[in-house]
């Protein structure tokens, strides 16, 4: 899918949400598989985001300046005997876009929890 300027696609919004959520939990950079699990609520999800959908969205977002990416230190991958990871981080542009989406979209009110009335 070709990305139109100034339009955030639903998959991109999900990525931004998940990335900000990870950052708030002290994980500033994420790799593809971590994002796939984060977007679907962990490995217990029935189906993770497809490779073609996820990685092409990440590439589009990087081109749009919403994310930046780099390869991790090769020694880290070698130590754990696994393939190297591409690490992504949300940029200030991405953060602003995420904030704009949050402001533009009315957030649902928190459910009012009513105390059961005393008999």
């Amino acid at each position: 899918m070709r990305r139109k300027p100034d339009i955030i696609l639903p998959i991109e919004e999900s990525i931004l949400n998940a990335a900000i959520d990870l950052r708030l939990r002290g994980v500033p950079a994420f790799h593809g598989f971590l994002m796939a699990t984060q977007m679907k609520g962990g490995m217990r999800a029935r189906l993770l985001t497809a490779y073609g959908t996820l990685y092409k969205a990440l590439i589009r977002m990087e081109k749009a300046g919403l994310l930046v990416s780099r390869w991790e230190d090769p020694s880290a991958a070698a130590r754990e005997n696994r393939p190297r990871r591409r690490l992504y981080e949300v940029t200030s542009v991405g953060e602003a876009a995420w904030r704009d989406i949050r402001l533009a979209r009315p957030q649902p009110f928190p459910k009012l929890v009513t105390e059961p009335s005393a008999p």
Partner: protein, 437 residues
């Protein structure tokens, strides 16, 4: 009892296949994912391919590792199924993304392929007239098309700017070969027309087609380097007339009036595109094209070209025959009229005209999007050459790509390769942000 044995064997085989598939499901699916990544990134720059390949490899490893760490909850075939679904569901995304990286004009390539293929039945039909070996023409044409297509794909992969330093040499070679055609003993003369050079077993070669391509390359390089002097009479117009005149003179001496006209008109278009004065372009057209146009118009008005030309049986190895008015027709190498003179001429001609129109449209688009003057001029020059030759095919010029002509295919298909190379370069420029990946 024996009738149950085949069923038993089928059952055992099914179970064995199932067991093997389950045991190897994960490596098979992983290999499928890797193959798909390789396939859909084919032709992209190494850094992009490497990035996608390594990211997906990392994802595969992480998923497998994560699932295994979860214990027995995920069996290998469940993971394999999950990976397979992720692969299949992502394929449209990959395909759309890959289409965004299409770097050459596939529309143009398809039109050229269609024109070449479209000419084959007509070439075969022409072979049926007065020849014992009816397949000869179509077999030769197919072999030439294959070799010329290889040249096309080679040129698509090379940078067209590399042709610029070679342009004077190409032009010089074209002039020498065209002059050689007129030398008795070197050139081959048939029915009073000297257009070929005999190359032994390879057969006669018509150098005018190669000269056309060399001329377009040379003139594009020359004009793109002139800048303001192109508007000057002495520094721009006169040298251009001399170059064009020299080539036109040699082609006219064969005589090949329609190709002389094509060269003259192509030079006019190139001059206009390069920013030359309109009065100079008009003068160029008047000097080189007007007399020939009047002469050709006269011949057309005197003849009912279509079916007559096709109906004439070939009289020699070249299939040439003079009619009562001294006009020479070739049943298989001739223009649209002779190629599609009999079977459904209007339908065939309408299809050909549509294909040529589309080709010209794409050529003009490539010229407009070319990254530099040299590319823009070459693109419009090649397009004009094909367009004018196609237009003149109604008066007997070989129909580009469709007529039986090895020399035509050997020059026009590489010329298309140059056009596609320009479109590839233009596409790269448009997608400059890709470099950041």
């Amino acid at each position: 009892m024996s009738e149950y044995i085949p069923m038993l064997l089928v059952g055992v085989a099914t179970l064995a296949i199932g067991a093997v598939a389950r045991a190897f499901a994960l490596p098979i699916v992983t290999a499928l994912v890797r193959f798909w990544v390789w396939l859909h990134t084919l032709g992209l720059r190494p850094e992009i391919r490497e990035r996608i390949r390594d990211e997906v490899a990392s994802d595969l490893w992480e998923q497998e590792n994560e699932a295994r760490s979860e214990g027995t909850r995920y069996s290998p075939d469940a993971i394999a199924l999950h990976i397979l679904l992720r692969l299949i569901l992502g394929m449209p995304g990959d395909a759309f993304w890959r289409l965004g990286y299409v770097t050459i004009d596939y529309g143009l390539l398809a039109a050229v392929a269609a024109l070449t293929a479209f000419g084959m039945p007509a070439v075969y039909g022409a072979g049926l007239v007065g020849n014992s070996n009816t397949e000869h023409f179509v077999v030769s044409q197919s072999a030439w098309a294959l070799v010329a297509a290889a040249a096309l794909f080679f040129l698509v992969r090379t940078r067209y700017r590399g042709l610029r330093p070679w342009s004077p040499m190409l032009m010089l070679a074209a002039l020498i070969v065209l002059a050689a055609v007129l030398v008795p003993g070197i050139g081959v003369n048939h029915a009073g027309v000297a257009r070929w050079i005999a190359l032994g077993r390879l057969g006669p070669v018509q150098p005018t087609s190669f000269a056309g391509l060399a001329f377009v390359i040379y003139l594009s390089a020359w004009l793109s380097g002139r800048h303001r002097s192109i508007k000057s009479f002495s520094d721009g117009f006169v040298p251009l007339c001399l170059i064009t005149g020299l080539l036109c003179g040699l082609v006219m001496a064969q005589p090949d009036m329609s190709m002389t006209l094509v060269i003259g008109l192509t030079a006019t278009v190139l001059l206009l595109k390069a920013g030359g004065r309109r009065i100079h372009a008009l003068s160029l057209a008047a000097v080189f094209c007007l007399p020939i146009t009047i002469a050709l118009a006269g011949t057309v008005s005197r003849h009912t070209v279509p079916s007559q030309a096709f109906a004439y049986p070939a009289t020699d190895a070249f299939g040439a025959r003079s009619d009562v008015n001294g006009i020479i027709w070739w049943s298989h190498t001739g223009g649209l009229a002779s190629v599609f003179g009999s079977a459904a001429p209007w339908v065939a001609t309408a299809v050909l005209v549509a294909l040529y129109t589309f080709l010209v449209y794409r050529g003009v688009r490539i010229s407009l999007s070319a990254p530099d003057n040299f590319g823009a001029l070459m693109a419009i020059g090649i397009t004009a050459w094909i367009a004018f030759q196609a237009a003149l095919s109604i008066v007997g010029a070989p129909a580009p790509f469709a007529s039986y002509s090895g020399s035509g295919l050997y020059s026009l298909l590489p010329a298309t390769g140059v056009l596609l190379s320009i479109s590839r370069e233009a596409s790269r420029r448009r997608r400059a942000p890709v470099r950041s990946l």
